[in-house]
Amino acid sequence: MYGGGYIFDEPNGKQLREEQLHDDPEKLVAFEERIARGEKIEPGDWMPAEYRRQLIRLIEQHAHSEIIGALPEGTWITRAPGFKRKLALIAKVQDEIGHGQLLYNAAETLGKSREAMINDLLSGKSKYSNVFNYPAKTWADVTVIGFLIDAAAIVNQVANAKGSYGPYCRALERICYEESFHLKQGHDAFIELATGTPEQKAMLQDALNRWWQPIMHFFGPPDKTSQHSEKLMQWKVKMASNDEMRNQFLDSYVPKIWELGLTLPDPALRKNPDTGRWEYTDPDWNEFFRVINGGGPCNAERLQVRKWAEEEGRWVRKALMNPTERRSLPVA
């Protein structure tokens, strides 16, 4: 599902900036010209060290978000009401793992092994989308996640699919295709509650109120405060600014929420008819950073469960492992 528009920065920038000084200036020019022409970069191509680093970080965080994102929704797998909802939910959570698989492969083409990425997730060194550190308290939460978080992810991923790195674009193409199923099944379950009994509607409204701030956080801090990287835009690693994507999301989905008679917990939310842009109360960005740094309601559980899965599956992986065989990275 989910990239999360925000790429969390790592503190090791200095060393890589030095590596960057060693980038061959002629090759750099050719590389940038290639991207400007709209050509894709492939795994074996020469690329600046910083481009490689940023891409690994971006794709890896996206992959982590998929497998961690499977947990909040997985909360309702055994409880989903009725055959159709149940099968759709299992299939959806399965897709998230499938997306993780595709994305880890794409990141591996850049030279970092799947194991190294998983270790960075488990140690907390590498981040994932903040939105998955919130609990799915009721069935209505699942419909809000399925509809709105997936919608937000689609905005982000459709943009990223036009980026410059071939393997990431190809993974995103497949992912976006499956996301359309996620969005549709989420919207369907969301509408079911919105048009149901007063209790169902209240349950949905409550979930919506709780998820609104994490959703506003989803695309990352406002452009005016976040370090805007011209280079990442030029290299087509980052395809649109945080505010740009947030605005696009609001434009497409707020009307779809309002048309069902639901409200959003922000009295200032409106589309300015003069500018055509959405206005809203800034969500609490301190909370955003608190959650990134481990202080969210579910950070600990998410990693604890992920650690359990790795630990529990270790004997299966180890039994079938052949340490003498030469390993290689995915070719494309």
Binding site: E42, G44, D45, L71, G74, T75, I77, T78, R79, G98, Q101, L102, N105, E108, S113, R114, E115, A116, I118, N119, L122, S123, P135, A136, K137, R170, A171, R174, E178, A300, E301, L303, Q304, V305, K307, W308, E310, E311, E312, R314, R317, K318, L320, M321, N322, P323, E325, R326, R327, S328, L329, P330, V331, A332
Partner: protein, 122 residues
């Protein structure tokens, strides 16, 4: 046993310490196999991605669900990524077709021109 999770599945697990250091060993996720997908009989097998697997047989088992659980598919191939040989990307210039080699293409032969010329000459 309860882990105080909202997920009843999770409450059935014996979770370890949240701060425990868990490390996955290099190679634990096995080898990489490239996957080729055949959409219908008579079509080419096309590259669709890869799977991590300990051997070709399980690579096929895994590829089936990761790459053919939705899209139409009649067969799959898997091959170890290490066994794929490709040109260096720097050698892309070898593939630049010289325009003067149009003797290889249908467009290099102006048959109608010659016929028309012959007809006019009569």
């Amino acid at each position: 046993m309860s882990n105080d999770s909202l997920d009843p599945r999770v409450n059935r697990l014996k979770l370890g310490d949240a701060n425990a250091v868990i490390k996955v060993e290099e190679g634990e996720n096995w080898n990489v196999y490239e996957v080729f997908h055949q959409e219908k009989r008579g079509a080419h097998h096309e590259h669709v991605g890869c799977v991590h697997a300990p051997d070709p047989q399980l690579a096929l088992v895994f590829a089936k669900e990761q790459f053919a659980r939705r899209k139409k598919c009649v067969n799959l191939w898997v091959v170890r990524s290490a066994d794929i040989l490709a040109f260096d990307v720097e050698d892309e210039d070898m593939f630049a077709n010289n325009l003067e080699k149009n003797y290889r293409d249908a467009s290099g032969f102006k048959v109608m021109e010659k016929i028309n010329k012959f007809k006019q000459s009569k």
